[in-house]
């Protein structure tokens, strides 16, 4: 059996990526959902997963100072280029938000009082939802997102798909255009790019298209709230045409999307124009599987 993987990504946050993912999760007959927006996950609000398995995630390293061993020489403060070590009244203190975990202080410390420690940065879960398994994660507040946790989420989702003979994984991708977004896309079979007709929407779309091209993955574009700025929408459509990227659909700005979100339900359970268009997009996408 082959598992088909679809990623839904957007560049800028707040463009309706999760709204679309949640609807697709109901429209697909059999699927494993993977929420790769580990920084501010939202998909679980609609899918209401019940956790079956918990896994710990150890992420970034930070310097930790053993006050007992510290000889107060201040070498660590001198070598730290991130202003993460400061003398505070009677001792040296590490600002863990500023520390980038480079280890310069641990190498320079003559008393071996500093160490890099990998800390528990979050958890990821295997859960069940009404219509299939879901893998999701949560980073601890103020931990930095990396491709690492996303890779774990995707690996687990794929494993579950093979183990339960489910031929489809739908990935709600990480926002942005950096490493987390890349990690959500790599080795998928199809990428859905969700954009909106704003100044920053098109800019981000171009960037994410480059990344998808690098991985040689087929893609299509959905314009959300397309009617709030017809001329920007046209600009996006022209861009897609020039770049030979398929236009999968245009979702109107619709009151019912807000109602659905408020009630923590997928839009496709509502009878409205946005819902119709989402269904049409899904039909189009599922014909590619």
């Amino acid at each position: 059996m082959l598992v088909f993987q679809i990623a839904i990504v957007s560049g800028k946050g707040g463009t309706g990526k999760t709204t679309l993912s949640a609807s697709f999760s109901y429209l697909a007959k059999e699927r494993v959902m993977a929420d790769c927006d580990v920084d501010a996950p939202n998909l679980h609000i609609i899918l209401k997963p019940q956790i079956i398995e918990r896994h710990e995630y150890f992420g970034s390293k930070k310097a930790v100072l053993d006050q007992e061993k510290c000889v107060m020489c201040g070498v660590c403060e001198q070598v730290c280029r991130f202003d993460a070590i400061k003398f505070d009244s009677d001792r040296y203190v590490i600002n863990e938000y500023a520390c980038e975990g480079c280890g310069a202080c641990t190498i320079a410390c003559p008393a071996k009082a500093l160490q890099l420690v990998q800390s528990l940065s979050g958890e990821y879960y295997l859960s069940k939802t009404d219509n299939g398994p879901m893998v999701h994660a949560l980073l601890k507040p103020s931990e930095e997102t990396s491709g690492d946790l996303i890779a774990e989420v995707r690996k687990l989702a794929l494993k579950v798909a093979y183990d339960s003979q489910i031929p489809l994984v739908i990935i709600d991708g990480a926002p942005g255009i950096g490493c987390p977004a890349t990690s959500s896309i790599t080795s998928t079979n199809y990428v859905i790019l969700v954009t909106e007709p704003t100044m920053s929407g098109l800019h981000d779309l171009r960037r994410i298209v480059e990344t998808v091209r690098h991985f040689r993955i087929k893609m299509g574009v959905v314009i959300n709230k397309y009617d709030i700025n017809p001329s920007k929408t046209q600009e996006i459509e022209e861009y897609c045409k020039t770049e030979e990227i398929e236009m999968l659909g245009k979702i109107p700005y619709d009151e019912c999307v807000k109602r659905a979100t408020e009630n923590a339900q997928p839009v496709i359970l509502y009878d409205c124009s946005a819902s119709e268009e989402i269904k049409r997009v899904w039909e189009n996408v599922s014909s590619k599987i």
């Binding site: 082959l2 992420g59 970034s60 491709g147 690492d148 995707r154 790599t186």
Partner: protein
């Protein structure tokens, strides 16, 4: 001549992983005698997985890598290292080695 395969589990029956740098295992396979070593890649860490994986390939003196498509930074490292990468998606490690020998794999 040695080749490196990015796999999901530590055996020749394993699938080639969907990920290059963040694969669970690397198999270092010796084409002359059919022996292989396993490298556990599960604690690759959060930074620079791509170059780290290429470093593993160089440290083990492999001439080719069979994997999914590497990311942009990893690809840069691969190009510089002159190691060739072949697309092994969808194959088992064993089949990938067979196809590599007969020249059927596509270079990335």
């Amino acid at each position: 001549m040695k080749i490196m395969l990015a796999t999901d589990s530590p055996s020749l029956e394993s699938k080639i992983s969907d990920r290059f740098a963040r694969t669970s295992y690397f198999l270092i396979y010796n084409l002359e005698n059919g022996n292989f070593d396993v490298i556990d890649n599960s604690s690759i860490g959060s930074h620079g997985a791509g170059p780290k994986a290429v470093q593993i390939a160089m440290d083990n003196d492999v001439s080719a890598i069979i994997s999914a498509i590497p990311g942009e930074t990893a690809m840069e490292a691969v190009r510089e290292s002159k190691i060739k990468v072949y697309d092994g998606r969808g194959l088992s490690a064993k089949d990938a080695i067979g196809k590599f020998k007969s020249g059927e794999l596509k270079e990335i």
